[in-house]
Symmetry: C2
Subunit: 106 residues, 2 copies
């Protein structure tokens, strides 16, 4: 096993909204994803999901508010909460979530 450089892994990503697993620690995955634009509204009924901004700015939309996260900021979307991620310009985001995360659309 060798160490992993987050920026080098980011350079391997070819498509937006396609998380790449970079670490697995117990039953949890740390994934990196490049995003731009808006994702669809969804939730994870039984699982929390942590977003940490690695590069750029991430907006997380909720039905009653919008959270704006800058580089080095993070937020846990608790299980069952409907949300939509959004970025005006390309952003790189770390996800910390169960390996087998299950998604339900709006």
């Amino acid at each position: 096993m060798e160490k992993i450089a987050i920026d080098k892994m980011t350079d391997l990503i070819q498509n937006y909204w396609t998380p790449l697993d970079i670490f697995r620690v117990n039953d949890t995955a740390v994934r990196i994803v490049k995003i731009v634009g808006k994702y669809h509204w969804h939730k994870h009924t039984t699982q929390d999901e942590l977003f940490i901004v690695h590069k750029g700015q991430l907006k997380i939309n909720f039905k009653d508010r919008q959270m704006v996260l800058e580089e080095g900021e993070g937020f846990v979307v608790k299980k069952g909460i409907l949300h939509q991620t959004e970025a005006d310009e390309e952003a790189v985001v770390l996800l910390v979530e169960p390996i087998d995360i299950i998604t339900q659309g709006d």
Copy 2:
């Protein structure tokens, strides 16, 4: 719930080798720890532990080799592996590990 800025949390830390919980996502904690010098040799028999360097340089010593991690690099120490963390100068490290991680000394 509000967003968390990792650097602001780091500024709250007063003591070395004392991890501060900054996120909880399911049964996993993301902790931040300031370190300098050497920790004692230990292992976690049933639990993996992920280290990601936030600032500075982290060395992880194993019985047969040393891994040197720079900013933005990470490594999962698999369960049962004896290890010792070390930093020549102050470093800030993110830990991703079970909330209830159990440690066994050498």
